[in-house]
Symmetry: C2
Subunit: 311 residues, 2 copies
């Protein structure tokens, strides 16, 4: 079994209160791939330009990611994003976006990629997400992410795309914006009417929540004293979540399994933000992940005990 992700492969320029990086490997598909690579083979699909070299490929290959479907556009320039964070990491400012080779991108999946068991449609134009979905007709579990830009500029297309997937992984605020509902419970109900059975709301430093027909699950973020760069946290979450599902091909996607997938998503995201870009993911080990998932269970559980209440 394997995982396919379609999304941006990028160079990022990032400024946070803790430092600056002028040009580092990034993009939703890259952050996703590295996180998911701890669970299964990942096929990454997306375009790059002439500036994308062996050093960048090596980061992905070192984690066993299949880069055969990275499309090199000769003469082109890799997608570039520049952003800045202040002390409130939930609030980021985009300084520059250069589409480069992403302009005119038409996803073409090899047999390996289109045959994946689990597929993640990272945040790209919803028509393209739908094209990819159509090429992965045998996938067992397909999820997508999007953003305010597409909600505002291509809402009908986005809803059509959403209707063809099993799961959406959205930012909390964007889920409310998409559905025009004031809270998560009502927003998730609306999206489930469109088709997806699993709704995940990412809440940044506060954690994440999930709603399915089995009900609600809420999980705080892992508490960190060192948060250096939140870029890619949501895609790392998705990588851990989808990777965990891919690693359990024979099992029913019930709440027990999906809750554990949430815990791995939360854990991978927490490592991602401890350093700039993908830096932390290149040193991360299985043991560190397993230990943090245990910690996460320990710090989120309480044991109920009856108390005499006064009516």
């Amino acid at each position: 079994m394997s995982v396919t992700v379609v999304g941006s492969i990028a160079f990022d320029a990032v400024k946070t209160p803790f430092g600056t990086r002028e040009k580092m490997l990034g993009g939703s598909a890259v952050h996703f791939s590295l996180a998911a690579s701890f669970f299964d083979i990942v096929h990454v699909v997306g375009p790059v330009g002439d500036d994308f070299g062996e050093d960048e490929y090596d980061v992905l290959r070192a984690r066993g990611v299949d880069t055969a479907d990275i499309e090199h556009v000769a003469g082109g320039q890799t997608f570039f994003w520049a952003g800045e964070y202040g002390w409130d990491f939930n609030d980021r400012k985009t300084l520059d976006t250069q589409l480069g080779v992403f302009e005119g991108f038409e996803p073409k999946l090899s047999e390996h990629s289109s045959g994946a068991d689990v597929v993640f449609l990272a945040n790209i134009q919803p028509d393209l997400q739908r094209q990819v979905r159509a090429q992965c007709s045998d996938a067992r579990f397909v999820a997508l992410d999007s953003m305010n830009f597409w909600i505002e500029s291509a809402k009908d297309s986005l809803i059509e795309t959403i209707s063809g997937v099993d799961c959406i992984l959205f930012n909390d605020a964007e889920l409310k914006q998409l559905t025009e509902q004031p809270n998560l419970v009502l927003a998730a109900r609306q999206v489930r009417e469109w088709g997806p059975s699993v709704i995940v709301a990412k809440q940044g430093e506060y954690g994440a929540a999930m709603i399915t027909d089995e009900g609600f699950f809420g999980l705080p973020a892992f508490p960190l004293e060192t948060v250096i760069d939140p870029t890619g946290a949501g895609d790392s979450f998705a990588g851990g979540f989808m990777g965990y599902i891919a690693a359990h091909p024979g099992e029913a996607l019930d709440h027990d399994l999906l809750r554990r997938a949430m815990a791995y998503g939360t854990t991978l995201a927490s490592f991602n933000v401890e350093a700039f870009g993908v830096e932390r993911m290149t040193t991360l080990t299985s043991d560190e992940i397993a230990e943090r998932v245990s910690d996460l269970q320990r710090i989120t559980h309480f044991i109920e005990k009856p108390v005499a209440l006064r009516d």
Copy 2:
């Protein structure tokens, strides 16, 4: 054993997208008292004016709250607050504040109030909080709340007051503002150096977190599809949290007990926001509380299971 709270007893005017109330019973000490009244006898301390009548007393007495230390200031007007919420309930606008009898308030505690086992210093001027703390020298557990206004205008006094209590229950953002630290882990470490051993950060619709020397605990808010008026949610949380502690006089304040207290705080807050002002608290029953605490445990737990990770 019993609980004492000192804070505002108020009339509130509130406008939310779901309706308007021109003058309803409110105030931090009132919301706290009603929530804590499910666990133990509550002594409420604070001033009221001539406009505070039997209807208001009856709301408190119906829940068994001891109102003997409510100080009636003849010729005075009860504290008044007017505020408005938009769709984002984490963001509220204060339209009017009239101190009324709160101007010149000097807390005088009867023997019953000063002898309480558990004491909550709700959000009032920090010098007054310290006076109350001094009168409750035998209390087993004392907690306080505050707000940005005091952090900005009376920070030294506030820190001195904090150094004399066991626990602070602060909004997330105000905890960071107070300590000038970028995240909860570092902020809590700073406050613990000042004295308190239990740090609780209230995160509004996202839940609450606690840090003690036994570590971190995070708990999502209870998911609701009907949120009518968030006024008093923080004080209801405090009431459930402190009430639960008061109801366990012989037990060590270890993490197991404090986590359960967090669950009761979360639960009481979730009921409070389901209707305007104190309306929901006047119909709430023990059975409803117990059922929701069970639900809260169910929707926040996951069971770890090892997975083969790929290094």
